[in-house]
């Protein structure tokens, strides 16, 4: 999924570059090329839509004609009916709201803690070296194994779930940010020193700004992982939220509910990821727009 998004992104960027060329006044061959590019992009969107639509249609027909058992496999119409039913008293929205809030909160905490820890690690090389194996082990550990422990320690409730969400992504995120800081060219740091700057200047003027792209790609990974952690937490220790609905649905054999929750999760994951993508595009776009408008 991520790959597809990246590819599309690249195409968008290319297209943007081409449009600026066109604005500079380019031949008819250029416009023809641009047209074909746009047609290509349109066709990609159309195929995507067709696949989604075809899948839903097939699913509906299969369960309607009895090709698959709609008790086990549900159907789009049953999911929609259930969703409308549950929207009436805002029950479903309450669950969505809880899961979303927990995810966003864990995500924010992960981002802040991992960035701050990575800054501390890079400023204290010896500490970083001492702590490295601990971080690696914690990162490699399947975090779902920690969830029962967290429940025993903290009881059931929102705190537990947020901690579960944090635990899934935090260590990987620290390692990623730290590696990102490390990859900043040593020569650029030397430059700061030749200009009379200190280590703190190097951090402020080189490492942090140079790591913004890594920070954002890291955030894109974290938002997905936070959602995973929150759902695991809700499986085990919640009375609300989509993870709870999934477990509840499977226990009472109400598979419409289960499948609807999964579909809603798909949409949430997509929306969260795309909002970060939008932020990323805006940051990139801002710098390139800044170039042209001020020049």
């Amino acid at each position: 999924m991520k790959k597809i998004f990246n590819q599309r992104n690249r195409k968008n960027n290319n297209a943007a570059a081409d449009f600026t060329l066109a604005a500079a006044g380019i031949s008819s061959a250029q416009t023809a090329y641009l047209k074909s590019l746009r047609r290509y992009k349109m066709s990609v969107y159309i195929f995507r839509f067709l696949i989604l639509f075809g899948f839903l249609l097939l699913w509906e027909i299969a369960s309607f004609t009895g090709l698959v058992d709609s008790f086990f496999f549900s159907s789009p119409s049953r999911v929609v009916t259930l969703f409308i039913d549950m929207s009436r008293d805002f029950e479903i929205w309450q669950h969505i709201r809880i899961t979303l809030a927990e995810t966003l909160l864990s995500f924010l905490i992960i981002t802040v803690i991992s960035t701050v820890s990575a800054i501390l690690l890079i400023s204290l090389p010896k500490t970083a070296e001492v702590l490295e194996p601990i971080l690696v082990v914690l990162n490699a550990l399947p975090k779902s194994a920690l969830a029962p422990l967290i429940i025993v320690w903290l009881g059931t409730g929102m705190n537990t779930i947020i901690i579960a969400g944090i635990s899934v992504a935090l260590f990987g995120s620290v390692i990623n940010m730290y590696t990102g800081f490390q990859q900043v060219e040593k020569e650029k740091i030397k430059l700061i020193r030749t200009l009379g700057g200190t280590k703190r200047d190097a951090l402020r003027l080189v490492m942090l700004p140079a790591s913004v792209p890594i920070l954002i790609s890291n955030m894109k990974v974290n938002i997905g992982l936070a959602l995973v952690g929150v759902i695991i937490g809700e499986f085990l220790a919640a009375k609300q939220g989509l993870g709870y609905l999934i477990i509840y649905g499977s226990q009472v054999f109400q598979l419409d509910l289960l499948i609807m929750s999964i579909l809603i999760l798909c949409i949430i994951a997509l929306v969260l990821y795309q909002s970060l993508q939008l932020i990323e595009n805006r940051i990139n776009g801002k710098s390139s727009r800044g170039k042209s408008s001020r020049s």
């Binding site: 020569e187 030397k190 700061i192 200190t198 003027l205 710098s287 170039k291 001020r294 020049s295």
Partner: protein, 212 residues
């Protein structure tokens, strides 16, 4: 070079500047001001050219009106003023190198250290940029120490060439360069009648070195 710039402390010996020992305060020298130009321009992509060349002043907290005016004057003089709000990736290699030099000059150093500043450029750009930078340094009357592996570059730019031996490097030879030229361009220097003589002289020194 790193020791001269005050980045590394010398193991032994002392560094004299106008007869005075330069004191190392642990982080870097204070006086005299030394400008150090690295192999690559290392302009920061997230800053505009103007902000890039002001970097040193910003670090030393010397962003005074006069200093900024001086930098803008330098940008004017060396054809970068119209590009001051561009990002480094929008400039050519030669322009970037000139911007890097202005960033160094902004601090008004008494000595300039240049560590193979043209090695990242292709030959054509290298010729014109080395000419530009040579004349900028002459115009601003700065003392410059240039490290290079390019003989013709050394001869065309330098007043005095120090040939260094292999590790551990010692000064093997000093050659004073005096070219009779009328045309102060990179090609003009290279077509001076003394050029070939110097070239062969230094080349032989370097060859001896290899045979040892």
């Amino acid at each position: 070079m790193n020791i001269l710039a005050g980045l590394i402390k010398q193991d032994s010996g002392s560094i004299l500047y106008r007869g005075q020992s330069m004191l190392h305060d642990g982080d870097s020298f204070y006086t005299p001001r030394i400008g150090y130009m690295l192999q690559h321009d290392h302009l920061f992509e997230w800053r505009t050219i103007l902000k890039n060349v002001l970097l040193g002043l910003e670090i030393r907290k010397e962003l005074t009106k006069e200093n900024i005016e001086y930098v803008e004057e330098l940008l004017h003089k060396y054809g970068l003023y119209e590009f001051r709000h561009k990002k480094p990736s929008q400039l050519s290699g030669g322009m970037k190198q000139r911007a890097a030099l202005i960033r160094t000059l902004a601090l008004n150093p008494e000595i300039l250290l240049l560590d193979e500043p043209f090695s990242a450029l292709d030959y054509q750009t290298r010729l014109s940029v080395s000419g530009d930078i040579g004349s900028i340094i002459r115009e601003n009357k700065k003392t410059a120490v240039l490290v290079t592996h390019n003989l013709s570059e050394a001869i065309s730019l330098a007043d005095k060439i120090l040939v260094l031996s292999k590790r551990p490097a010692t000064i093997k030879k000093q050659v004073k360069i005096a070219l009779t030229i009328t045309d102060h361009s990179p090609l003009g220097y290279r077509s001076a009648k003394e050029f070939n003589g110097y070239f062969n002289e230094i080349w032989e020194d370097l060859c001896d070195e290899k045979n040892i």
